[in-house]
Amino acid sequence: MSSAAFIVIAIVTLAGALAAALLSRLIHAALCLVVAFFGIAAFYFLLGAEFVGLVQIFVYVGAVAVLIVFTILLTRRDADSDRTFNWSGAVVALAVFGGLVSAVLGTPALAVTAPAIDALTVRRIGEVLMTDYVWPLQCIGLVLTAALLGALVLVMEEKR
């Protein structure tokens, strides 16, 4: 049951990602990327990491995808089929993929069976974030606040 679900999700995710890389109209590519995002969220659900899956949808579909789509909309005057196949991109992608595969296959951790972990509940994530990882959390909060203020300063109207 779960392996069948894995294959279906994998096909959908890869098809979405491939379409995002190959389609000639940028908006279509961005929308196909959203399909890939949903596929990755489905993987998290399959692995029992419900919270991470929900946050994946929330952040990537709700925010990142909207941001991408808006960027395309606001910067391109005419986005009609001016996107051709980019060989250098393909070469770089294949090189990165090869590097990752060799790194993954080379790790000794793959041979060891993973120990069973208890269910990743929202409560546990909250507790760990508020105790062990409270400093990283605060630092990220600071960085994001600074980014928010920076964005505000950038778009503020100039005084006349």
Binding site: M1, I27, H28, L31, V34, E50, F51, L54, V55, I57, F58, V61, G62, A63, A65, V66, V69, F70, L73, T121, V122, R123
Partner: protein, 397 residues
């Protein structure tokens, strides 16, 4: 007796499932899901039909006219007539439209709202899709709506559609923050993201069963409820925040190029979104399916839920009949300068209430915090307002 009335739908489902007693487990699982989903769709489609009629009736009453009264008694068959009209209308797709995106947009708008309805507890043991992070699920699927609105606006290849979609996304993104922040105090106090746990935390009564332990009876809860309701009005694009589809300016916003059943789907998504937001408000602040007084326990839980839902929907209609449309920049200013600070205040007030061991002193302290911040904030925003001749910034340059 009343116990079985309360559980009548749960028992009915178990009875239907008992026919499949010998079947393998996955068949039972799929059958169980299908029963739940179809029950939910039937209930909410009926509610949708009823709401579309009663909205017109109530608006007519507010505007001193009669409203639909020709089809059936009191116009009760009007929704059926409307539905048939929508179905047999010609489906027009603009020649320069992006056909696939144009076709997918109405579906993408409707799916998240239907999914969001799944996590709300409609009564005792009546949550269709009970997961640990139910509240997060609600907002995660809700955030997919923005993309769907964009697809509608962009796929139509029409300037009004695009303008409407831009306005809709701008206002939805801005108000998502206060919407979620106003939920945060409740999540913080309950210590869980599951709607069932939140409803369970609001059981019990004070003063001999007349004051329910709903979160709306606490100062921070009342303030968050108002913020949540306002943000919910914006998220469902209802008056006075219906700038995205402002008829007098941009035809119908992102729905301009849609006709027939696709338009009906947008309409349905808007109403389902309204049901979902109201249902979540009932769950979070109005005690879910709990009775308002202890001696009314014999009325079934789902009846209370739908009574509260109906009351909130009536307020939606009431506001639509009463308030004029806000200007876009006012909507945005309101979100960032008032809603956001107030939402943060609610979080602090809730914490104070909690650490005062939830007693009367804590109640008064948190009420004090909310009121003081409200007064200071409204005073500041008032003095900042400058009255000056209107400036046409983009028209004259």
């Amino acid at each position: 007796m009343s116990e079985s009335v309360d559980q009548i739908f749960v028992l009915a489902k178990q009875w239907i499932l008992s026919w499949l007693a010998g079947a393998p487990e996955w068949v039972t699982q799929i059958a169980s899901s299908l029963i739940s989903i179809s029950a939910m769709l039937v209930v909410f489609l009926t509610l949708f039909a009823g709401m579309s009629l009663f909205e017109r009736k109530i608006l007519a009453r507010i505007q001193n006219r009669l409203g639909p009264n020709r089809v059936g008694i009191f116009g009760l068959l009007q929704p059926a007539a409307d539905g048939i009209k929508m179905l047999i209308k010609e489906d027009i797709v603009p020649a320069r439209a992006d056909k696939v995106v144009h076709f997918l947009a109405p579906i993408m708008v409707a799916v998240p709202t239907i999914l969001a309805l799944g996590v709300i507890p409609y009564g005792r043991n009546m949550t269709l899709f009970s997961i640990d992070g139910g509240i997060l699920f609600f907002f995660a699927v809700g955030s997919a709506t923005e993309l769907a609105v964009f697809m509608a606006g962009w796929g139509s290849n029409n300037k009004f559609s695009m303008l409407g979609a831009m306005r809709a996304i701008a206002q939805m993104v801005s108000y998502e923050l206060p919407l979620i922040l106003s939920v945060l105090p409740v999540v913080m106090i309950v210590g869980s993201l599951s709607p069932d746990a939140i409803v369970a935390a609001q059981s019990g009564y004070s003063l001999g069963g007349v004051i329910p332990h709903w979160f709306v009876t606490t100062p921070w809860g009342a303030a968050s409820f108002l913020l949540f309701f306002i943000a919910g009005l914006v998220e469902s694009n209802r008056t006075p925040f219906d700038v995205p589809e402002g008829e007098s300016e941009i035809v119908a916003g992102h729905m301009t190029e849609y006709s027939g059943f696709k338009y009906a789907t947008f309409f349905l998504a808007e109403y389902f979104g309204m049901f979902a937001i109201s249902g979540l408000a009932v769950t979070l602040f109005l005690g879910g399916w709990h009775a308002p007084f202890a001696f009314l326990w014999f009325i079934p839980s789902f009846a209370w839920f739908f009574l509260k839902l109906g009351a909130l929907l009536f307020v939606f209609i009431w506001i639509r009949g009463t308030l004029p449309r806000m200007r876009v920049d006012h909507v945005m200013n309101f979100a960032w300068k008032f809603m956001l600070p107030m939402a943060f205040t609610c979080i602090i007030a809730a914490a104070v209430w909690h650490f005062h061991t939830r007693n009367v002193a804590g109640w008064l302290w948190s009420a004090g915090i909310v009121v003081v911040v409200y007064l200071v904030l409204s005073r500041l925003l008032e003095t900042r307002r400058r009255f000056a001749p209107r400036v046409y910034r983009f028209a004259e340059e």
